[in-house]
Subunit: 182 residues, 2 copies
DNA sequence: GTCTATAGCGAGATAGAC
DNA sequence: GTCTATCTCGCTATAGAC
């Protein structure tokens, strides 16, 4: 049921999806859905929260190399791979923020900021070490994340490039953008 | 009324906005809205189409310098400024695509591709001239547009940086990303 | 644990008075 | 050109049988 809801929310938007649609996709009658979620809003929040928790826990599970260049490369490849594998959840976590009640919104936002902070820390380390040339670490963080997440808007399985090749190309662009010369 | 609808759609999402809400924001009764639009779907499409037409016509009105570097800088600054000035419309044009009927969707998509093509043309020219080092012009196009559009997700009037300064910083990152050395 | 049935509400759109 | 009133529909959520 959570999978069905995820896919439907991503495709049509939270507000446009009815509990009836979720029930049909789950092969169950409407009333039965309420055995698994107290209401529609909680279902949305649950999906978003699970997604963000997965993101943070997998990020923490990454090796953290001392070298900022290696750390940035790991982050770049991780971000592309993780987000690509869960495009529905990514889309929802970004688009449906406005459908959350304020308290729930704040919790999701906090997790997103934590994720961003881990990238900014890498940039700051590299800059201090004289290995990166970024005009502003905050803006570079936003720029890189937007750029990498953008892969989801166009990448399709079986297209011109494999995901591994896409990772390589984006890593090259990231490398240049932050002024790594080698 | 179009302004009110634009703001409401951007804030709450097309599906979550009722004609009653638009009526209230327009200081008019619900029935009167149908003097200005045949239905809600047409209203959405109209807003998106107008936005994309404005984007393309302002883009065409830009000077087109022979030098690819200058052209890319113009594009970068134009994109940031234009999108910033219409963040509601930008948000809608991206997020509400799925709420369009197939035919309307195709028309908006065609305009978006035309916009992307104009950036790709700049990249291709610069690459041929040996002035840019981009591994793949298609991906670089997507990457740059995503990166620049991302400004809208965080920029707030009266924040730490003026928009002019933001333009400068992003231009520096773009310049590096496509391998312009000077 | 899942069903059917339904309460209660708000939606989009239209009709007809003014 | 705008209003009020209303039609018809589909929504979330719940109740109660099995």
């Amino acid at each position: 049921m959570r999978d069905a809801a995820l896919q439907l929310f991503a495709r049509h938007g939270y507000a446009a999806v009815s509990m009836r649609m979720i029930a049909k996709a789950t092969d169950v009658q409407v009333g039965a859905l309420y055995l698994y979620t107290p209401d529609k809003q909680s279902l949305l929040f649950d999906l978003m929260q699970t997604h963000m928790q997965d993101l943070l826990s997998e990020l923490r599970a990454l090796p953290s190399p001392d070298c900022p260049v290696a750390a940035l490369e790991d982050f770049t490849r991780f971000h592309i791979r993780f987000h690509r594998a869960r495009s529905d959840a990514v889309f929802i976590a970004y688009m449906e923020l406005r459908n959350l009640e304020p308290e729930n919104f704040a919790r999701i936002e906090a997790m997103r900021r934590e994720y961003e902070a881990s990238l900014e820390a890498i940039l700051t380390r590299g800059k201090s070490a004289g290995m990166f040339a970024v005009p502003d670490t905050k803006l570079a963080t936003f720029a890189l994340i937007a750029m990498l997440t953008g892969v989801n808007t166009w990448y399709r399985e079986g297209g011109r490039l494999s995901l591994a090749r896409v990772e390589d190309i984006y890593w090259e662009m990231v490398r240049k953008a932050v002024g790594i010369s080698t």
